[in-house]
Symmetry: C2
Subunit: 263 residues, 2 copies
């Protein structure tokens, strides 16, 4: 239990390669992959929802320990963990393995610092049908409790890669046949233009930068295209999550139209 | 100065109809409308950026008071107000006046509770070229310091309406000739379908609900169409800001294509 609490610390997480999934939604998603779950801690007086999770854990042979509601609260980062927390094994995958599967749409978040943004980026990428998400550079890790929560289960839905090596990541993704599109508020070419040129229909990896500084110019220069989201009003830019949602959905639509046309 | 500090409180704000714009970006946007600004408080040793703002304030005849950097920090909600805070007059507008101008694209956020989401919604709406934003129902007010900050200046860019009366707001918006589209994750009709049907090209008001519960079913029923954002992957939904960005940009694109075709 004391060990579980220490998983709030990034170094402890990366040494033990374990993290916490907090609350019924995250625990349910984790239990869908029982081999990921080391142990579940639940309140002694479980809610109906938690009782349902207990059945799933028992069926999968996952260890289940009842503790006081106050203990759950101490372990969890969440204000209201709703009576259940799971200790999970890291689930990130090697980039090479993910690229071998022939992804058509990927998100690469570079130096994303805010855990809420990292988790929401995962959720957006999942919603838009991305085949994988890379968190690259010196950003937050996807196992940060706030990131896990913000991902709303998406951390368990699609392959996640953690890669400090940004140039190596981009080179490998390009070598796998994906076009690198850098989301850059300063780019002269906008999303509607690349869409009209048909550039969104093929295999694509979108690069999104740090929430405060965007992408480094040298990374923008490495990409196949730098693409801005058109600004119809007077805002100087969109925030990271909104820009990512607009770009990823433009790709998802273009790719689904192409797939539909080919069928 | 003590009065300025109390503007962190919503009741004090609504009684005095004044709020704080914190940091150089927000103060610069405020000073673009000098009649909105009551007074600026700035650090005694201003940065170059703040010195530039001083010139703008002097040119516009806006009162400028130098105080200690520590005083600025006490007044401001922001961790790093960067040496400048402006006391501003409320700038929300009557709905009737805004509707008289014949808006073609509007955002209506209903019961939006999180100030960061409210501000980011304003920023998205501005970027997508909305003619106005209504914050309706029992949500956060746009003058909350976190909302002002998250709007990244957009609070000053487009008309904002604050309206506790949701049914009255929707009736007025519809009477002004806008189609009411309710963003609803459970809707059978998705965004691509309404786009293909040409429903996005005309005057449109998008309704977005509370971040935790979405729109009340009775509000969805009142709308002309309930529209879901398509989910290509396994995510159960998008978060408020991502969904709004995707919907508003679909409308912006459809309206700009129509305008282009007519030109």
């Amino acid at each position: 239990m004391a060990k579980a609490r220490r998983l709030a610390d990034r170094q402890v997480r990366s040494q033990s390669r374990r993290f916490l999934a907090e609350g019924p939604q995250a625990v349910r998603e984790a239990l869908a992959h029982p081999s990921l779950v080391v142990e579940v801690f639940a309140a002694e007086r479980p809610s109906d929802v938690v009782r349902g999770l207990r059945q799933a854990a028992d069926a999968a042979g996952v260890a289940w320990t009842e503790v006081g509601e106050d203990v759950i609260r101490v372990v969890a980062d969440t204000v209201t963990p709703q009576g259940v927390v799971a200790v999970c094994r890291f689930l990130d995958r090697p980039l090479a393995e993910v690229l071998d599967a022939g992804p058509r749409l990927m998100t690469v978040g570079i130096d994303v610092r805010d855990p809420g943004n990292a988790g929401t980026l995962l959720r957006c990428a999942d919603a838009a049908g991305c085949d994988a998400v890379v968190l690259a550079g010196r950003g937050v890790d996807p196992y940060n409790p706030k990131a896990v929560r913000a991902s709303a289960g998406s951390l368990f839905h699609l392959p996640v890669i953690v890669s400090p090596d940004v140039p190596g990541t981009l080179a490998a993704v390009r070598a796998a046949g994906l076009r690198l599109l850098a989301a850059d508020a300063a780019a002269a070419t906008d999303l509607d233009a690349v869409d009209r040129q048909g550039l969104l229909a093929g295999p694509t990896a979108w690069l999104f930068g740090n929430e405060a500084h965007g992408l480094d110019p040298e990374l923008v220069a490495v990409a196949d295209e730098a693409v801005s989201v058109p600004l119809y009003g007077r805002a100087e830019s969109l925030n990271l999550v909104a820009a990512a949602a607009v770009c990823l959905y433009a790709s998802a639509r273009a790719q689904s139209l192409t797939a539909g046309g080919a069928a």
